[in-house]
């Protein structure tokens, strides 16, 4: 049974090395006390790593165009879900209302003080 050999196989170890390097950077960055640095190190790098895996390991860019479109549309639906739901679930209070006054009071009493 033959396989489609339409992909060009580069040196995958190179991509792997970059990914590991990014991992190290993200972990080191997360030790920082500056919030923005932690966020960029953690999540910004995550997006880069995901992109590299998708491009170099999954060869998404070599596939027929509708394949990445399909995957992006699925992600888009998740963003729509987030946009529609987060005003209700994410917010704990708004104009003239507080969510779960009993629960928040209990939690405020029981959790120790946090600091960045």
């Amino acid at each position: 049974m033959t396989t489609e050999s339409h992909v060009h196989h580069p040196n995958y170890v190179k991509t792997w090395a970059i990914l590991v390097l990014l991992l190290v950077v993200s972990v080191l960055g997360s030790l920082s006390h500056v919030r923005e640095v932690v966020l960029i190190a953690a999540f910004g790098i995550a997006f880069v790593k995901a992109y590299l895996v998708a491009k170099n390991f999954m060869h998404v860019n070599v596939e027929k165009r509708w394949v990445p479109y399909l995957l992006v549309v699925c992600l888009l639906f998740i963003f729509i879900l987030f946009a529609g739901v987060s005003p209700d679930v994410m917010k704990q209070s708004g104009q003239h209302w507080v969510k779960n006054p009993i629960a928040t009071a209990t939690q405020a009493a029981s959790t120790p003080a946090k600091h960045e």
Partner: protein, 564 residues
């Protein structure tokens, strides 16, 4: 481009034993029958539940013949199970799995689904899901009674819903059903995309195949978040987590959003195959090609996409952000436009056609008329202002039955009466078919029009007896509730005409040739019923699926597989 054997290897192997042929088969036609008969059996159960609770509502607090006394808990379980069964174990298996399985390989011109063993697995998982659901009736506490929407905390807490085992079994059954349809749907999609006959381009595919595939894609995209939510609810039910528990920092609204993010596209998941069935029938029985095939397709894509941005219209009074309510009102009203356009295109197809009113055509026309009523009544519910009054009243029930009954019942009968000859090799009796049609459609209206009235007057849903709630009882309207019940009894009794016709005609019906309706699509080019492997010689396609009314030919239509 792929090469294929002119002679189909499937035709040649030995006849398998009965177990392998009927219970372990990978043949898409057998699997289709499995889904069809399971769906029909579940429909009888769901219909029986409707009978019981409507008897309670029409003749409150009397013993229901064939059932007994309807207590509040049992009432809740009956309406929950009626809704769940009709949507997940009747509409979806029959419209998508049965028709999809039977028709797709035949209509695209290949010998089976792309993955026959996954196909078989999907039915097996589906059957297990039905068994799990039915087992919930036998456990302590009985079947789940928290409504098919299963809002927590009621659905999460056994102390509230009083059906702790039933609620877990219900959730597991729904989850298994989802897995079955994810597997099946992906199989349909891949088959329709890849396995088409040479010459069948995108716009030569019959509309019902498109519709079932799009329905599968919409289901797949919308079910994901609910699967996530179901895992969370399952843990809330069994493992003391607090995902949806407000006293523990969780949010019940999250479930509602996850549910309806799926729940709204789901109604289009069942609508699309129904519209596909109607499209196939009206083209054949009006001897006219579909008016604006591409427009039908593009509007379907638009409906599919829009269906993902309207979901919170089910939650207008749930305490969502009012600004979201504005947005969802607008999108909900917008989605009525492409659907209306599709109905217009169907009417345009009929206009000027050479129409014969055979039974399938009666059902197809009935679908258009009744669904239209359902659609326009949805406008009142899609606008948040009027919905504030109408939410949770019988107006909502009447609206969604005016959409769901055309989808799950009328179009199903349309499809069965149309493809019965192909599936079983004999013709159904036309007279009995017409009696069944009128005996279903006329009473149907008398069930739900009274409910529009009582709903507008303020009758609340999911209340087992108004006798307990003085301000709700509105005794002046009881005659409407009773009328609705009696109409249901009439409608249900006519279903026996169908059952008799269906089973009697299997043996005693007039023998059917390959193409009794003179249709142009590929499934009518093979014997009735088709042999294992479908096509002795796999077809090549030369034209679109609706070439009817052509002048200057011996026949008034051109089948897809004939070169000239």
């Amino acid at each position: 481009m792929s090469t294929y054997a002119v002679v189909n290897p499937h035709i040649e192997h030995d006849e398998p034993g009965m177990f392998k042929k009927y219970f372990w088969s990978t043949d898409h036609k057998v699997i289709a029958m499995q889904y069809l008969f399971t769906g029909m059996a579940m429909a009888m159960l769901g219909g029986f539940f409707a009978y019981v609770f409507r008897m309670q509502l029409g003749f409150p607090n009397h013993n229901v013949p064939g059932y007994g006394f309807v207590t509040p808990g049992r009432y809740n379980a009956l309406v929950t199970m009626h809704g769940s069964i009709m949507i997940f174990w009747v509409a979806m298996p029959v419209l998508i799995a049965a028709f999809g399985n039977f028709l797709i390989p035949l209509m695209v011109g290949c010998d089976d689904m792309a993955f026959p063993r996954i196909n078989r697995l999907s039915y097996q998982i589906f059957l297990i899901s039905a068994i799990v659901l039915l087992s919930s009736f036998l456990v302590k506490g009985g079947a789940f009674g928290g409504a098919w929407t299963a809002y927590p905390p009621l659905s999460a807490n056994g102390n509230y819903n009083l059906t702790p085992l039933g609620s877990v079994l219900w959730l597991v059954a729904v989850a298994l059903e989802f897995v079955a349809f994810l597997l099946g749907g992906i199989n349909f999609t891949v088959t329709a995309m890849n396995s088409r006959a040479p010459g069948m381009k995108m716009y030569d595919i019959p509309l019902i195949v498109w519709m079932i595939v799009l329905a599968s894609v919409i289901f797949m995209a919308s079910a994901g978040p609910l699967i996530a939510g179901a895992v969370m609810l399952l843990f809330d039910q069994t493992m003391s987590t607090g995902f949806f528990d407000p006293t523990r920092g969780g949010d019940p609204l999250l479930w509602q959003h996850l549910f309806w993010f799926f729940g709204h596209p789901e109604v289009y998941v069942v609508l699309l195959p129904a519209m596909g069935i109607v499209a196939e029938i009206i083209a054949v029985f009006a001897r006219k090609k579909i008016f604006g095939y591409k427009t039908v397709l593009y509007t379907t894509w638009a409906v599919g996409f829009l269906s993902f941005v309207v979901w919170a219209h089910h939650q207008f009074v749930a305490g969502i952000d009012p600004r979201m309510a504005n947005i969802f009102s607008i999108t909900t009203l917008m989605i009525s436009v492409p659907i209306t356009e599709m109905i217009f295109l169907y009417i345009a197809t009929l206009y000027g056609g050479s129409i014969t009113l055979g039974t399938p055509m009666l059902w197809a026309l009935g679908f258009i008329a009744e669904f239209l009523i359902g659609g326009v009544t949805g406008i009142f519910l899609g606008s948040s202002g009027t919905d504030i009054y109408l939410h949770d009243t019988y107006f909502v029930i009447a609206h969604f039955h005016y959409t769901f009954v055309p989808i799950a019942i009328i179009s199903v009968f349309a499809g069965i009466t149309f493809w019965y000859p192909k599936m079983f090799g004999t013709m159904l009796n036309e007279t009995l078919g017409k009696i069944h049609f009128w005996g279903t459609v006329i009473p149907f209206n008398f069930i739900f029009i009274p409910l529009f009235i009582t709903g507008t007057a303020g009758d609340q849903r999911r209340v087992y007896s108004y006798a307990q709630f003085a301000e709700q009882s509105r005794p002046a309207l009881q005659h409407l509730r009773t009328t609705s019940t009696i109409a249901l009894l009439v409608m249900l009794s006519f279903q026996f005409v169908f059952l008799f016709n269906f089973f009697w005609s299997l043996r005693n019906g007039k023998k059917a040739g390959p193409n009794p309706w003179r249709s142009a699509t590929l499934e009518w080019t093979v014997p009735s019923p088709p042999p294992h492997g479908n096509f002795a010689e796999l077809p090549t396609v030369y034209r679109g699926p609706y070439e009817y009314g052509l002048p200057g030919r011996a026949d008034d239509f051109a089948p897809q597989n004939i070169p000239e």
